[in-house]
């Protein structure tokens, strides 16, 4: 379990389980990780932080996001224990 630098001990934190697929899994070099972030962290902020950590090549504008196995809006709030997946452009069919 990794902890992002911005989560200080004095703040309330939430643990978010992040899964990686496709090129993001290549860049993160892992399938999933649990991160502890301040409770008010938005999805946008979460991606920004993880993007810095793993040097993701895709800007957020090119991605969709899923929370707890459903597509979500980038403005949706997340909560402790949520599962979050950043979705690069899909290529099924």
């Amino acid at each position: 379990m990794s902890t992002l630098a911005v989560a200080t001990p004095t703040e309330a934190v939430m643990n978010i389980n992040v899964l990686y697929f496709a090129s993001l899994a290549d860049e993160a070099n892992c399938q999933q990780e649990t991160v502890s972030v301040p409770q008010s962290t938005s999805l946008t902020e979460l991606y920004e932080q993880l993007s810095q950590k793993h040097r993701f090549s895709r800007p957020q504008a090119e991605l969709r996001v899923a929370v707890n196995d459903y597509f979500a809006n980038w403005t949706d709030q997340i909560h402790d224990g949520d599962s979050v997946v950043f979705i690069t452009p899909v290529a099924g069919g």
């Binding site: 899994a25 997946v85 899909v90 099924g92």
Partner: protein, 163 residues
């Protein structure tokens, strides 16, 4: 390395019977072995339907001018099932159809293998055609499946449906 970080998206968690049960109930599922097209088709049998339209997306031996050896599909199973259910529900509202089922396969596929199967039954023919095409297009746009093509020189790349 690639196999390690993608292992969770090359196989499904559910049993094959569960997959077909979900496909029958919700209209969509992911599968990590060959799609049994006859089984899906039988699920759609309906004496009130005069029309059955279906589409199979198969792995072809080229992409533009480049020769393709094989293709690996990766999927996010739980989101795919939830999103697939929403797609089939919407298709039933948009078109005058009786039923529709689609399955997308993940894992390593060979040339000629069926990657996606869509079947629709309806009383009349045009809604079956229209819904089949719409479901396929929407699967390609929205279902979290990704693919990597492998070439003769063992190189590979991630493909994208939308640029």
């Amino acid at each position: 390395m690639t196999d390690n970080v993608h292992g969770h998206s090359m196989t499904i968690k559910r049993s094959v019977d569960e997959v077909y049960a979900i496909a029958e109930r919700d209209g969509f599922a992911l599968l990590d072995i060959a799609i049994d097209e006859e089984r899906l088709k039988r699920t759609l049998d309906d004496d009130g339907c005069g029309a059955f339209a279906c589409f199979e997306g198969r792995v072809r031996n080229h992409n533009n001018a480049t020769s393709v050896e094989r293709l690996t599909y990766y999927g996010y199973e739980d989101l795919a099932i939830n999103q697939g259910r929403a797609i089939i529900d919407e298709a039933k509202q948009r078109f005058e159809i009786t039923n529709a089922i689609a399955i997308h396969r993940i894992g390593a596929l060979d040339i000629g293998d069926v990657a996606v199967w869509v079947g629709v039954v309806s009383a009349h023919r045009y809604p079956a055609f229209d819904a089949c095409r719409w479901i396929l297009d929407t699967i390609k746009a929205d279902i979290p499946v990704w693919k990597q093509e492998y070439y003769e020189d063992d190189s590979s790349k991630w493909l994208s449906n939308n640029g």
